[in-house]
Amino acid sequence: MPLEALNDFVVKFANVNGSGSASANSMFAKAILRMGVPVAARNIFPSNIQGLPTWFEVRVTEAGHLGRRGGVDLMVAMNPQTWDRDVAEIEPGGYLFYDSTKPLPASKFRDDITVVGVPLTAMCNAAYQLPRERQLFKNIIYVGALAALLDIEIGVIEQLLAEQFAGKDRLIAANVAALHMGRDYVAEHLSPLRLKVRRADKVGDRIFVEGNAAAALGAVYGGATVCAWYPITPSTSLAEAFTGYCEDLRIDPETGKARYAIVQAEDEIASIGVVVGAGWNGARAFTATSGPGVSLMTEFIGLSYFAEIPAVIFDVQRGGPSTGMPTRTQQADLLAAAYAGHGDTKHPLLLPADPGECFEMGAQAFDLADRLQTTVFVMLDLDIGMNEWLTKPFEWDDDRKLDRGKVLGYDELEAGVEFGRYLEVDGDGIPYRTYPGAHPTKGGYFTRGTSRNPYARYSEEGAVYVGNMERLLRKFDTARRLVPSPVLRSATRSTREGVIYFGSSTPAVHEALGSLEHAGLHLDALRVRGFPFADEIFEFIAAHDRVFVIEQNRDAQLRTLLINEGEIDPSRLTAVLHYDGTPITARFITETVTRLMSERTPMPEAAE
């Protein structure tokens, strides 16, 4: 029985990297969005430029479930190399769309699915002479064909093409022609599928954007002026987006000069070195990197912690350890970031759940770094960073002031304010600092990674060292009140079980919570958004008999952090872990939690 669905199905494109499919696939997703139907789109790509398999998965979800669902309803199988597993992945009753130019034996198909063949190559070869044209237009042709098969309004795609190639009318015409070629083929030879897209009004004013771009834009609004980076997937597009936004938004209108400085450094160590140097000198500075970069930066992060220098690191996490799965997603840098550095160190982490929060926290991180005079991490991952997510529009209050933290300037120094670079003054563990060059005779000090007294003079005296380390702890406690607070999502009825989750798992968790509730399993849910952990998090754990901690790594790093920082009994926290490199799915969460809950004494609700 072929699957039937309206505005609720999953399409997966199996392509070859470098074939130009990405922009066509993205247009497919965006066209559905323009019809008012939410989509969740994800790239699944290799560490490769040309030739290896790449996938693009589009979940059409009028209900607004932006996580991965799991399973595929329609496979657009354009890559012979992955044919077998692509076909195998299709849900029973699902559909297979393929290039029927080359005849395939029956053994290559399945009986329980509907196969839709379009001779894309043959059509291209007939229409185009240049190999590159044949390649690129093939993608547009299948978009046209899919539009016809799924009832996507062709005019919406035409509009998108017009926007994409604005000013290049010849290209628009050529693309529209290819689009029509696909649509017309379906109209003549095939009938529409039972998977349908129908115009709705469920997108609202939401925007469709990558987390990396959003974080970069946050850095622009957060006043970052210095960016130093070293290319590493999946963070590269963050630095590149920052460059692009700065070129648009940060040029002095009178002189045409740049109000920013971006250095592509020789490595991650130099990147963070530049950031620390700029932060020391009073500029807001950041780097974007991933796990391997954080490993390299660790010595500098320790310096930033101990010498108390503001820095912001966007860690777009990927699959580790070592080079690991460089193009796959994980949330596996949590421990490495939280405790980066030798000796006793810990650092504030911000944990955005979608590009909207990437923007907000991307800006907020700079205020926190200046306020706390330390490295602040913004922990993205590949899933948020490199995929376009449907997210609430960016907002900015024009009255918002940048918090430059505790800085003594010329006037204060001249007025004789006592200055000790590492002197506790306000009881919050945060000392005052001065920028180099502030005053001819006052406020100068020597910054070092060695132990020193409150007046920044070298000291290896035990009591002096301990006093300083204790102050740093007080400062970290101050950070607890400054990082974003957790978000509670209570179950519809009272329960003694809960889930804790964060970051890119969020939409999948939310969807799963709905399913679980539907199945009578009620869970309170708390989304962690910052480290050090707010008191509410530990109160939440205390208020529940069992808490599932859902995260995308093998070692339950968030759970470990919670146990460690909150001195929690490990038996109270049950790990729900997904770490195969693909984004966590609602199905996985639902199934795992259901199983775990059933292994225990059944809850009364579950027994009903």
């Binding site: 939401r206 925007i207 469709f208 834009l217 622009v220 609004y221 006043g223 002026t225 210095v226 130093a228 045409g256 000069k257 740049a258 109000r259 920013y260 400085a261 971006i262 250095v263 450094a265 020789e266 490595d267 160590i269 130099a270 990147s271 963070i272 070195g273 530049v274 950031v275 620390v276 140097g277 700029a278 020391w280 000198n281 009073g282 500029a283 500075a285 010595e299 500098f300 310096l303 529009p393 907002e395 900015w396 209050d397 024009d398 918002r400 001065t434 920028y435 180099p436 060059g437 502030a438 005053h439 001819p440 005779t441 100068g444 020597f446 910054t447 070092r448 990674g449 060695t450 070298y458």
Partner: protein, 351 residues
């Protein structure tokens, strides 16, 4: 090493400079290096140079890595901000500091371990980017703080204090700096302040990446027979290609050398370098020639010192990046934040 504080009492004839500061006002804490360390002489030369240039001490930012040499910024310009960073990474921190505030004068102090071994990459890259700075390597050919291991600048065939012969080729930082595009390159000797002080002054006045390789004997571990970085060896093999004086922009020019031997070179800041030739045919504006000359003389066992290369019209990193004239760390919210209206447009483009 000395533990008493250097008395503030000073010579009654000590003259203030144009800013009213005496040379003593440019001093820092008392050195904790070994007695007789060449590095202390370099600190003293820096003090003298800054004093003579009438630099406001607080407008100089001192940065260093780790090692004996990197401890020295504590020992001069006590009112300046200093930053003792991590091993081999001073160049990146200096680059970042420079990007944040282009108005300060950046003085990077490093050693041969810091710059030729662990930090060779950062050394090279900061120079090829044209960071406006003076980068001094206090080069003693040895790891002092860990007690006498060879460093990467130890010459092949030189002997350690324990009698071990170095079999690895030495890295010549001057040649490397030339290759990396440094626009001011000099070599000097801690034991020759008459040469060193004018070089530091000129380098501090230079806009762009200025590099001075300053041979600085380690009295404890590298001042024995068989060392090529000892006081005696350097004095015997020192071949200065020129002597120079720096005439600040506002002074009348009074230096008078025989014509033909002296070349005046205008610096970016309006000061004039008067180069007094010692080696015939040596042309410090010829990068390729300088490299060849260095190699040839080095093969003869000579240590070429003096101003080796100068491009007075160099561009620096800020020019290459096209940054605004004011320090980035002074930009206001209004100048940094594009505002809600711009954001609304961006939102619209993302639907």
């Amino acid at each position: 090493m000395t533990y008493i504080t250097k008395p503030q009492l000073h010579h009654p004839q000590l003259k203030p400079n144009a800013l009213g500061y005496t040379r003593r006002d440019y001093e820092g804490a008392v050195s904790t290096l070994c007695a007789g360390c060449g590095h202390d002489s370099i600190s003293s030369a820096i003090i003298q140079a800054c004093y003579e240039l009438d630099l406001p001490p607080h407008r100089v930012a001192k940065l260093s890595g780790i090692g004996c040499s990197s401890k020295t910024p504590d020992y001069f310009l006590g009112n300046s901000h200093g930053f003792n960073t991590v091993h081999g990474r001073m160049p990146s921190v200096l680059t970042g500091a420079n990007l944040a505030n282009r108005d300060l004068i950046y003085l990077g102090v490093s050693g041969d371990g810091d710059s030729a071994s662990i930090g060779l990459g950062q050394f090279a890259h900061s120079i090829r980017r044209g960071v406006n700075m003076l980068y001094i390597v206090e080069n003693n050919g040895v790891y002092g703080l860990t007690k006498g291991q060879f460093s990467a600048t130890s010459d092949k065939g030189s002997k350690s204090k324990k009698g071990v012969v170095n079999h690895d080729a030495g890295i010549d930082l001057v040649s490397l700096a030339l290759q990396m595009g440094a626009t001011f390159v000099a070599r000097s000797f801690s034991g020759d302040k008459n040469q060193l002080v004018p070089l530091i002054k000129a380098a501090l006045s230079h806009k762009g990446a200025a590099f001075i390789d300053c041979i600085s004997p380690c009295v404890q571990f590298n001042n024995h027979a068989g060392s090529t970085k000892s006081y005696d060896y350097v004095r015997e093999h020192n071949e200065a290609v020129n002597r120079m004086d720096l005439v600040p922009a506002r002074s009348a020019i009074t230096i008078d050398y025989a014509p033909g031997e002296t070349v005046p070179v205008a610096q970016h800041d309006g000061s004039v370098l008067h180069l007094h030739k010692l080696a015939e045919h040596y042309d410090p504006s010829d990068r390729v020639g300088a490299l060849a000359y260095l190699q040839a003389r080095q093969a003869l066992g000579e240590i070429v010192t003096g101003l080796l290369f100068l491009d007075p019209g160099a561009r620096d990193l800020h020019e290459n990046l096209g940054t605004v004239d004011v320090p980035l760390n002074t930009l206001s919210e209004r100048e940094l934040g594009p505002g809600a209206a711009a954001l609304a447009k961006i939102n619209a483009s993302l639907r």
